[in-house]
């Protein structure tokens, strides 16, 4: 199958970025908006075409989805190791193409309304272009190093976009935090890559992932501290993934990242970039699965499960609607990781993998929808906080409906998208690991609860009056909401297991009714509780908050993780390490160097008395010198 044209998909947004970036001052906002949107439209169309071509026309050869690559050497390291640049087309990359295209396009359209009148309008679209380019590059990457390269690039575009309001100190701090935390994770990722490169002699996904390939078969060749080095490598790589996907304990940047404009949060911190970690694990799934009997994969599963729970608990207590969504994102990402973690490889065994990808897909849709909805709300009431909202359904019907749909979807209410994907994940968990399954179910309940707490809090709740009447957002913003809403409804009906599976052979997925029933009921219960607590204005919630007391406090303070990190960086690294070093350098190292010089001058001060000016002293030294030398050379040195 000819895949060359796919190269255009990343290239177009990049060109957009260059255009808008370089002629930033020259271009009129209106124009730049259109440039951005149409550029992305083109990419999106290509992606859809590519997806159609791959999945339905000629991607499949005798029942197996093929992997097509095109690449060129970018730089040589050693005779065997080199960085390639190229594109790799297989089910998940194509799937990601679609996801990225859809969400990004919607966000572009949405932003034209949301960012209207902002001074950095053009800059904003430029950055969006840069991000989309990097994201495409990431999903199409053919080898570890290429993915690392674009990994860094999405990181930096996220930095730029979080810090978009660069005069706001909080925004600056958030951007810095996001970049440095992920950078720290990438440090692990890089080491992982190094190890893989050194012990397998390649960075290439195809070679690495081949179950019969040497990389996987000889995993036991070298081991370090009881684990195969390859396992170590995978764990390190997972650290990278965990950083991007805000897995515990590297999640702390995600909530703060909400400082960025809401469309950005929707695109980067909900739908696309944050799933990169999941994508990375999926991309290396064969290695994770086969090497050391999936040791690394179990770690992934537990980390995912814990993060899901952890985030869900915190989400209940947050009052900033974007932060609620942020933690919900984290929790859902945990779900995906969990799904991968409990997955097998062959045929129906691989349901976890499939489900996790499926969930990634659906989640992208409804989470983006949620964020955009939240954006439109914020746009209307100029506040992020629940306390400033309530009974908005009267003023902004479309937002209300779409948000409701999204909420239902994420709560896993059939037949909406979330239901299908989440159910599959739970099935996989149930089959592999009961503990994780229970966690998953519980989280499902929590999700439904906090989501509807949010929904009721915004659109129902106390019947308040606004000093300036909030009104429905313009079409440019509501249109994406509608589109995404539709996708959130129908998204679940896609027979995903036909297309995206671990072994690339589709299988027939069918609903496991008991489990589905359980999950659904749990979801309903969550919604019900939320109804009781928040539908009408009442003090139930506060009472319960008091009842839980410290627990509630911890949760609402995110279990003090920010404080811990702050302590480590500010107190330990800056005060205890950096400052002393800087002082040491000036005082000790430099001091020594200066000391040598000063000492020399001092000596010359001390000895100046020898030059006494008395000719007889001179004579004395002269004679003494003669005598000494004579003695030395007569009695010591002469053989």
């Amino acid at each position: 199958m000819n895949i060359t044209y796919i190269i255009l998909i990343p290239i177009i947004p990049f060109i957009v970025f260059l255009l808008l970036g370089i002629f930033n001052q020259k271009i009129k906002p209106a124009v730049s908006g259109y440039v951005g949107v149409f550029g992305l439209l083109a990419s999106a169309m290509l992606s859809f075409y590519a997806a159609y071509q791959y999945f339905f026309v000629n991607g499949k050869v005798d029942g197996v989805y093929q992997t097509f690559t095109e690449k060129t050497v970018w730089m040589h390291f050693t005779d065997t190791l080199h960085i390639d640049m190229g594109i790799l087309v297989d089910p998940i990359s194509v799937m990601m193409l679609v996801v990225v295209s859809v969400v990004s396009l919607m966000v572009h359209i949405y932003s034209r309304g949301y960012m209207k009148g902002d001074e950095g309008y053009t800059k904003f679209f430029a950055f969006l272009g840069l991000f989309t380019f990097s994201m495409y590059g990431l999903v199409l990457a053919t080898n570890l190093f290429q993915i690392y390269i674009f990994w860094e690039l999405v990181g930096v575009s996220s930095y730029l976009l979080i810090g978009y309001y660069y005069t706001k100190t909080s925004a600056i701090a958030a951007a810095k935090k996001a970049f440095i935390v992920t950078r720290f994770a990438d440090f692990g990722f890089l080491i992982g890559i190094m190890i893989i490169g050194f012990y397998t002699g390649t960075f290439d996904f195809e070679t690495l992932n081949n179950p019969e390939g040497s990389a996987i078969l000889n995993w036991a060749a070298t081991s370090f501290m009881g684990l195969s080095v390859i396992t170590w490598a995978l764990l390190f790589i997972f650290i990278g993934g965990a950083g991007k996907s805000a897995m515990f304990p590297l999640h702390i940047w995600l909530p703060d990242a909400m400082e960025g404009p809401t469309p950005v949060s929707a695109l980067i911190h909900a739908a696309t970039m944050v799933v990169a970690g999941v994508f990375l694990v999926a991309r290396l799934f064969p290695m994770f699965y086969f090497v050391e009997d999936g040791f690394a994969l179990n770690i992934v599963a537990y980390v995912g499960a814990f993060s899901a729970l952890f985030a869900a608990v915190i989400a209940i207590t947050q009052t900033d609607i974007k932060r609620v969504l942020a933690f919900s994102t984290m929790s859902q990402l945990g779900y995906m990781m969990l799904g991968l973690g409990v997955s097998g490889y062959e045929g129906h065994e691989g349901v976890g993998y499939m489900a996790s990808m499926f969930h990634l897909f659906t989640h992208a849709m409804f989470k983006a929808l949620l964020f955009l909805g939240a954006g439109s709300v914020i746009h209307a009431v100029h506040s992020n906080y629940l306390k400033d909202m309530g009974s908005l359904r009267k003023y902004m019907p479309i937002t209300n409906i779409t948000f409701l749909i999204a909420a239902l979807a994420i709560a896993g209410v059939p037949p909406l998208a979330g239901f299908w994907s989440k159910d599959e994940i739970l099935v996989a968990a149930f089959e592999h690991n009961k503990l994780i399954y229970y966690v998953g179910v519980f989280v499902a309940g929590l999700t439904a609860f906090y989501m509807f707490r949010l929904y009721f809090g915004i659109f129902w709740g106390k019947d308040r009056t606004y000093d300036h009447k909030p009104k429905e957002s313009p079409l440019s913003m509501t249109f994406p909401l509608l589109v995404l809403a539709v996708l959130s409804v129908v998204g679940g009906l896609i027979p995903f297991s036909e297309f995206v599976t671990a072994d690339k052979v589709g299988f027939e997925a069918h609903l496991n009714y008991p489990l589905a029933a359980i999950a659904t009921t749990v979801g309903i219960i969550g919604i019900g509780l939320a109804w009781i607590f928040y539908k009408k204005e009442n003090n139930l919630s506060d009472r319960y908050a008091k009842a839980f007391g410290p627990l509630y406090k911890w949760a609402s303070d995110k279990f003090y993780f920010d404080e811990i990190y702050m302590f480590i960086t500010k107190k330990i690294l800056f005060k205890r390490v950096s400052a002393p070093i800087a002082k040491f350098d000036r005082k000790v190292v430099d001091g020594t160097m200066n000391g040598i010089g000063n000492k020399t001058v001092l000596i010359s001060q001390k000895i100046k008395g020898v030059q006494s000016g008395k000719v007889q002293d001179y004579a004395f030294v002269f004679v003494a010198g003669v005598v000494v030398i004579a003695l030395v050379f007569i009695y010591l040195w002469s053989n």
Binding site: H76, I149, F150, L153, I172, I180, I191, S578, A582, M593
Partner: protein, 495 residues
């Protein structure tokens, strides 16, 4: 006249013209034309080299060998390989940029440009020499003008910094001299004549104990100018006091002499010594890498930040050289180049900011993105480049270094490698700190609201440096391959 000697002659001619320059206008005109010609020659040399390489596979091409001091068998012996070609190009670009940046050098312009060009002569000569003696001569020629440049046109405690810098570097070169003499007098152990010719000495197998004796002298002698911990302290003060163009040339080019010399002389001529001593110097360089980065975090003076980041980056160069394999060495050279461009760019920008705001204290600056967008944006880009973002030269270099270092099996090397990789995080911290405090945030000082926009010559200087950074970062293949093939003989000398 052969293509290489021109690199000495053209600057000399430029100086002769400069002597008769009457005013700033004339002086900078002459200097600009001169350095433009040099840049032209450098670019031409690259293509000439690539062409020559296809037909000529000797280690050095365009060689020219004239007997100088016959009794000592000292020759004026020059030639280039891919490495020197790359570094020559770097030099030419930075010099030209430096001339543009010092467009408004009102105080003694003529003398300023003369010293600047004398410095460049030293650097060019150093990069093209094959003869140890010639190399050493050019080395000192390159160092001494710094005294005047910093002392006369500097700021702050310029006399102190200038003196310190000169003495430390000259002291180092003095140690180096002993090393060179040691090599020279052992260059006849195989029965040949005493010689200073690097290529010939490389063929001689110098006794191991001799190598052990002279490697540290040679290494330290060069490494001090490469800001080896703990001999780096001249660089922060020197940079802080130096005028913009000088900081650019110094950090951008002069400090590269260190790595290059270590590689060409210490490593190539005393391989066993290198293997024997590497552990201690690896420790020092890794310490330098981490240490420089950490001290950069706490600085508030822009130039100090940059100086310490140079210590950290060049620590990586030495570290890579000590890893003794092709990939790492390739990384070292690339790092030298990319750091050259980046740090020159940084100093240029710092100079511009200082010129406008009259302070280099980041705590007193703020929100510059609003008032001088162009400079600020470039600063951000330079910052991203220096924290090793893909798409910029820094990434290419660092990845080569890390991958190369990772080829070393044993635990000690692994630990050192991981430690040095960890610098990518710390670098991010101090770079983003500066960006956050200085460029972003609200405008701290009302008077900054009407700062002079960037001028054409400043733009020119900036772009001159930015283009190669991006160029190497986006398409490193031709450059890294050119260097790689030049590395082969050195590797063979090592194994």
């Amino acid at each position: 006249m052969d293509i290489l000697s021109l690199f000495i002659i053209v600057p000399v001619v430029t100086i002769l013209f400069l002597v008769f320059a009457k005013s700033l206008k004339q002086a900078r005109m002459v200097a600009m034309v001169g350095s433009l010609v040099q840049l032209g020659m450098a670019i031409n040399l690259v293509f000439a080299y690539l062409k020559e390489r296809t037909v000529n596979d000797s280690i050095m091409v365009f060689t020219k060998d004239v007997v100088w001091f016959e009794p000592f068998n000292i020759h004026y012996n020059i030639g280039v390989d891919g490495i020197s070609v790359a570094l020559l190009l770097l030099t030419a670009i930075v010099v030209l940029a430096g001339v543009f940046i010092s467009w408004k050098m009102y105080d003694l312009p003529k003398e300023f440009f003369i010293s600047l060009i004398v410095l460049s002569i030293g650097v060019y000569g150093f990069f093209i020499s094959i003869d140890l003696f010639t190399m050493f001569v050019f080395f000192e020629i390159a160092v001494i003008p710094m005294y005047l440049l910093i002392g006369i046109w500097g700021s702050g405690p310029r006399e102190y910094s200038a003196m310190k810098l000169t003495l430390m570097l000259m002291g180092a070169s003095a140690i180096l001299l002993v090393g060179i003499l040691g090599i020279y007098f052992n260059s006849d152990v195989d029965g040949g004549a005493l010689t200073f010719n690097i290529l010939e000495i490389a063929q001689v197998n110098i006794p191991v104990e001799v190598q052990k004796l002279f490697f540290p002298l040679t290494f330290i002698g060069f490494a001090v100018i490469g800001a080896l911990f703990p001999f780096h302290t001249w660089s922060p003060d020197g940079h802080a006091s130096a005028p913009t163009a000088v900081s650019m040339l110094h950090a951008g080019v002069l400090m590269k002499l260190g790595g290059y010399g270590v590689f060409r002389v210490a490593m190539y001529l005393l391989p066993e010594g290198a293997v024997d001593w590497s552990w201690i110097f690896i420790i020092l360089s890794v310490v330098g890498v981490i240490y420089g980065a950490f001290s950069a975090i706490k600085q508030t003076d822009l130039k100090y930040i940059n100086a310490y980041s140079s210590v950290s980056h060049l620590g990586l160069v030495l570290f890579a050289l000590l890893m003794l394999n092709k990939t790492a060495w390739n990384g070292a050279i690339l790092q030298s180049l990319s750091h050259g461009f980046m740090t020159a760019l940084f100093f240029a920008l710092i100079g511009m900011i200082y010129e406008r705001t009259h302070t280099r204290d980041i705590t007193r600056l703020g929100g510059l993105l609003k008032v001088i967008p162009f400079i600020s944006v470039i600063y951000v880009i330079a910052g991203l480049a220096s924290l090793g973002l893909p798409g910029f030269s820094g990434f290419v270099a660092e990845m080569n270094i890390f991958v190369g270092a990772f080829q070393q099996e044993d635990m000690f090397m692994r630990v050192a490698t991981v430690l040095s990789i960890s610098v990518i995080v710390i670098t991010a911290v101090y770079i983003l700190r500066v960006v956050g405090i200085m460029l972003m945030g609200p405008v701290k000082n009302e008077s900054y609201l009407k700062l002079e926009k960037v001028t054409w010559y400043e733009k020119f200087g900036i772009l001159l440096l930015l283009i190669p950074i991006v160029g190497i970062g986006v398409a490193p293949l031709w450059l890294s391959d050119m260097i790689l093939e030049s590395l082969d003989p050195f590797i063979k000398g090592l194994l």
